[in-house]
C-alpha cells in the first residue's frame, strides 16, 4: 500500500502546486511509482505545471462520478514513466467532490502507487478538507511571513481534527516545507526567521526552498523544476526534501548559507 501525502497551506499562492509537481518528480526519479492528484477542482493548475494540459481527457470528477475508470483518467508523464497525473476538472466546482467518491479513488490509487500526492486547493473549505481527509502524511507549505504562518497553523489544527487519522485517534505525520525563502531579505530581517516559524508551528522541517526565477522558468516550460533544471537551487532543495520524505536522514540546507558543516543544520527539528 502506498503512502498518501497532502500538500496543503490554507493561504493561496504559497507554492503548493509547484511543490506537488517538484516532489512528485523527485520521488519518481528514485524509481518509485508516483501519482500526483489535483484537488483544485475549478482552478486546476497542476496539469500546466506538469506540461500535460493538452493530454487531459478525463479528470478526478469523472472518475468519482463513474464516467471514467481510473486508468483512463491517469496521464503518464512523457519524461518519467513512473510519474502519473490525475487532473482536476476545470468546468466543475468543489461540490462535485463527494466524500465516498474521494475515498474510493484514493483507495484505488494507493494500491497501484508508492506515493499518492494530493495538491490541495487554498482555503479551509470542502476542497481542502477532502484533500487532507485520507492522507497519511501532510506537507504544510508555508512562506516566511506572518499571514502564511498563521494560516498554516490553522491548517495544522484541522489536520489534527478533521482527518480520518485524527478521528481514529492516530497522529497525522506533519512536515513543514518553507518555500519562497529569500536569503537576502532574511539577512535584512524583512522576513520571519526559520527558527521563528519553527517555534510557532512546532512541526519538523522538511526543507527550505529558495525564492528563484528557476521556478517560474520551469513552470513556463511545463515541467516540474526537479525535471527541467535538476541542478538549480530550488531543484536541489526539493530533492533534499524528497529524500527526507522517503525516510532518509539528511541535514537541512539553509539557502544562502555557505555549504559545509556550518551551513548545515544537522537533525534540525522543531521543539
Amino acid at each position: 500500500m502506498g503512502k498518501v501525502i497532502v500538500v496543503t497551506s490554507g493561504k493561496g499562492g504559497v507554492g503548493k502546486t509547484t511543490s506537488t509537481a517538484a516532489l512528485g518528480a523527485a520521488l519518481a526519479q528514485r524509481n518509485e511509482k508516483v501519482a500526483v492528484v489535483d484537488f483544485d477542482v475549478g482552478l486546476r493548475n497542476l496539469d500546466l505545471v506538469m506540461g500535460a494540459e493538452r493530454r487531459v481527457v478525463y479528470d478526478l470528477v469523472n472518475v468519482i462520478n463513474g464516467d471514467a475508470k481510473l486508468p483512463q483518467a491517469l496521464i503518464r508523464d512523457k519524461r518519467l514513466d513512473t510519474l502519473f497525473l490525475l487532473p482536476a476538472s476545470q468546468t466543475r466546482d468543489k461540490d462535485a467532490l463527494t466524500e465516498e467518491g474521494v475515498e474510493r479513488v484514493i483507495g484505488e490509487l494507493k494500491r497501484y502507487f508508492d506515493w499518492v500526492i494530493c495538491d490541495s486547493p487554498a482555503g479551509i473549505e470542502k476542497g481542502a478538507t477532502l484533500a487532507m481527509r485520507h492522507a497519511d502524511v501532510a506537507v504544510v507549505v508555508t512562506n516566511p511571513e506572518v499571514s502564511s504562518v498563521r494560516d498554516s497553523d490553522r491548517i495544522i489544527g484541522m489536520l489534527d481534527s478533521k482527518t480520518l487519522k485524527a478521528e481514529n485517534g492516530e497522529r497525522m505525520e506533519k512536515h513543514l516545507l518553507l518555500t519562497r525563502y529569500d536569503s537576502l531579505r532574511a539577512e535584512r530581517g524583512d522576513m520571519l526567521k526559520v527558527d521563528d516559524v519553527l517555534e510557532i508551528l512546532s512541526i519538523p522541517l522538511l526543507g527550505i526552498i529558495p525564492e528563484s526565477t528557476d521556478v517560474l522558468k520551469a513552470s513556463n516550460l511545463g515541467a516540474p523544476v526537479t525535471l527541467s533544471d535538476a541542478r538549480s537551487a530550488p531543484a536541489q532543495a526539493y530533492f533534499e526534501a524528497a529524500r527526507r520524505l522517503a525516510g532518509e536522514i539528511v541535514p537541512v540546507t539553509v539557502p544562502g548559507e555557505k555549504r559545509g558543516i556550518f551551513g548545515k543544520l544537522f537533525g534540525r527539528k522543531a521543539a
Binding site: E125, R150, D151, D153, R154, G157, E199, I200, S202
Partner: protein, 251 residues
C-alpha cells in the same frame, strides 16, 4: 514589578454557557418530522424554553429545503437558536446563525407523560406556557482541571467553564483559551486567554512568554495595544485587583 493595566471604566464581557438541545434530522424529512411530532405528543412542550441547535452536518439538503425545515419546526413551536454543520451556501442572513465549537453533553431524556386524551395533549403542546419538563442535566460543578498536551492552533477554542486549564505548549495567534478558573500556559501566549470567565475574580493567567492578542479575567479585558510593551516576551502572571488587571513578570 507590578504594572497597572486597566482603568476603572472597562467594559465587562462575560461568558455564559447553556445546555442546548441538539436536533439532528435525517432524510426523508417528512418522516423525521412525523417522529418529532410523535415525541412532542408524548412529552408536551419539551422544546419550549429550551435553546435548540439544529445539526445539519449529516444532512445533504439545499438552501430552500433547509429554510422549509426551519419553517416546519417553527410551525411546531420549535425555535432554532443556531445551526451547526451547515455549508455557507445553505445559509441566508434570515436564518439562525451558524454555530460551531459546541461540546457534546450527555443525552437529554424526554419524559413521556401519558396524555389523557389526544386532544388534551395537543392543547398542552401548543398552549401550556409553563410546560412540565425534566430539569436540564446539571454540569457538575466540582473544581476540575483540563490539561492540553499540544499547542492550541489558530482557529481553535479551548473552553472549560468548570475549572482551570493547563496548556503544555503555545497558544497561537487567532486561537483562544477560555476557563472558568485560571489558565496556565507553558509556552508562548499569542492568541487570547480569558480566565474566570463565569465570574471568578480570583482567577489568574500565567504564561511562559506573553505575546497575547487579548487577555481577560472575570470579564475585564485588555487588548495587545493596551499592554505595557515591556511585558512582551516575558514570563508573566496576570491577576485582578478590583477592576484592574495587574501584571507581574515572573523570574
Amino acid at each position: 514589578m507590578t504594572k497597572v493595566l486597566t482603568d476603572a471604566r472597562s467594559i465587562r464581557i462575560k461568558g455564559r454557557s447553556f445546555l442546548a438541545v441538539v436536533l439532528s434530522p435525517d432524510l426523508p424529512l417528512d418522516q423525521w418530522l412525523e417522529r418529532l411530532d410523535d415525541l412532542a405528543a408524548r412529552s408536551a412542550g419539551f422544546f419550549l424554553d429550551r435553546p435548540v441547535v439544529l445539526d445539519v452536518s449529516e444532512l445533504s439538503i439545499k438552501k430552500a429545503e433547509l429554510k422549509q425545515l426551519i419553517d416546519d419546526l417553527a410551525a411546531r413551536k420549535v425555535r432554532i437558536m443556531g445551526i451547526e454543520g451547515a455549508r455557507p451556501s445553505q445559509l441566508t442572513p434570515e436564518m439562525p446563525p451558524a454555530m460551531k465549537g459546541g461540546k457534546p453533553a450527555s443525552d437529554v431524556e424526554v419524559t413521556a407523560q401519558e396524555p389523557e386524551t389526544e386532544a388534551e395533549a395537543e392543547v398542552a403542546a401548543v398552549v401550556s406556557p409553563a410546560p412540565q419538563r425534566q430539569e436540564a442535566p446539571q454540569v457538575r460543578a466540582i473544581p476540575q482541571s483540563l490539561t492540553i498536551d499540544e499547542p492550541v492552533r489558530s482557529g481553535q477554542s479551548i473552553i472549560f467553564p468548570e475549572g482551570d486549564i493547563t496548556i503544555v505548549g503555545s497558544v497561537a495567534s487567532g486561537a483562544e483559551v477560555i476557563a472558568g478558573g485560571s489558565i496556565h500556559i507553558y509556552g508562548t501566549l499569542r492568541g487570547r486567554a480569558m480566565a474566570g470567565s463565569i465570574g471568578n475574580s480570583n482567577a489568574r493567567i500565567f504564561c511562559r512568554r506573553l505575546e497575547a492578542e487579548l487577555i481577560a479575567i472575570d470579564g475585564i479585558y485588555k487588548m495587545a495595544e493596551d499592554m505595557d510593551s515591556s511585558l512582551r516576551g516575558h514570563a508573566v502572571q496576570l491577576s485582578l485587583e478590583g477592576e484592574t488587571i495587574m501584571a507581574d513578570i515572573l523570574f
